[in-house]
Symmetry: C2
Subunit: 198 residues, 2 copies
DNA sequence: GTTGTAAGTAAGTAAATACTAACTTAAGGA
DNA sequence: TCCTTAAGTTAGTATTTACTTACTTACAAC
């Protein structure tokens, strides 16, 4: 069936993201994409001039997903500590929904070939760090979090918690519930940071 | 010049590890290896039957390096908290010496193609976790670390600290001193865990 | 020295890759 | 209803990849 260019582009991006998880980011060939989309290989190039452009589109899409997920998480949650939990939970949910995400951080397309990709991911990591730090500062102001620790350092520890967990999940059999284990560890860390009944 | 098989094998492994960092793990072709070693491409296959076998040898080599580095670190250090610092410092030194290490965790060779590779890395991560946990338990026994946190959870937080830092280092311009920044963050975390004058 | 072994080479192969050129056909507006 | 546009196809190409085969040569033990 024939689709409009916009729909097809979106479909291609989604297929790449899915394939990246299932067969590995650099194994995602134009042939594999075409087979999954259900068109000929050449048709892919009607929508993207080069393969690198496809990855840029994937990066844009992922950046949008993350940004939206964080905004959504912050919409409802309200004491700073709850907002921290919401952010971490949202990020873990995104990783679960798109397990290729951690792998993309270190794929060849990103690290060697495509500087734009790397920049996009670094930018999103920095954004998450910023959001977390903001909440840590608010929590310290409310006396909900210890004040004698730099908010930036706490934010680093929290992003590391997410990434370390994602590595463990990816490397293993993905045999635990990312969100549950993450929020449990977050509670441990928050208790160390002075939150009572974390 | 002609070398013995053992020397050549070791050289090939070292070259792969170096190339993996410089051009990306999956860009390491047999041709690139051969050029770097200084022999013809076909000569590589005198020493390894398949490319997958080469990666297994790399994994074995890396596992040995890590294990030795941890043992060395623990040799001298003595109060548990110092031993924790030594372990973390040693691991960060290894990552600095072999920057391909974090990338290998997520390369195609590991994640999709080569189950043996993944198993080897998971095993080493588990080993580090075990060593850290052991020291945490000792620290708690000495009343140097808070007792109301599970030692296993603390070990997870510490390995995550290392991994998160490595990601930040790799993704960025490697523009900070891994060991310094890592030990600084470790001190922050240790202070949260009850260590005075961390 | 001679000789067997194994490290090395030259020259190839089949398969896979990103990308192209020329043609076909579906779909929506005039 | 026709006709323009653009999504799609078929059939390629040049390059790169892991791996092979048949031959050559360095070297160490005897």
């Amino acid at each position: 069936m024939r689709k409009s260019a916009d729909l097809r582009k979106a479909q291609i991006v989604a297929v790449i993201l899915d394939l990246a998880d299932r067969i590995g980011p650099d194994r995602v060939t134009t042939g594999a994409i075409a087979a999954e989309v259900g068109v000929t290989q050449a048709a892919i190039f009607r929508h993207f001039p080069t393969k690198a452009e496809m990855w840029v589109a994937v990066a844009d899409h992922v950046a949008g997903l993350l940004t939206a997920a964080w905004a959504e998480a912050l919409k409802e949650a309200n004491p700073p500590v709850e907002r921290l939990k919401a952010l971490v939970g949202a990020q873990l949910d995104q990783i679960k929904a798109h397990p290729a995400l951690p792998m993309l951080l270190f794929s060849r397309e990103l690290n060697v070939e495509n500087a734009a990709l790397r920049a996009a991911f670094r930018d999103r990591l920095a954004a998450l760090h910023g959001l977390l730090m903001q909440e840590v500062i608010a929590g310290q102001r409310d006396n909900a979090l210890l004040r004698d620790v730099a908010a930036g350092d706490v934010a680093v520890l929290l992003t590391s918690l997410i990434q370390g967990l994602a590595i463990r999940w990816s490397l293993g059999a993905r045999d635990f519930v990312l969100r549950d284990e993450g929020l449990r560890l977050l509670a441990v860390q928050l208790r160390l940071l002075g939150v009572r009944g974390g």
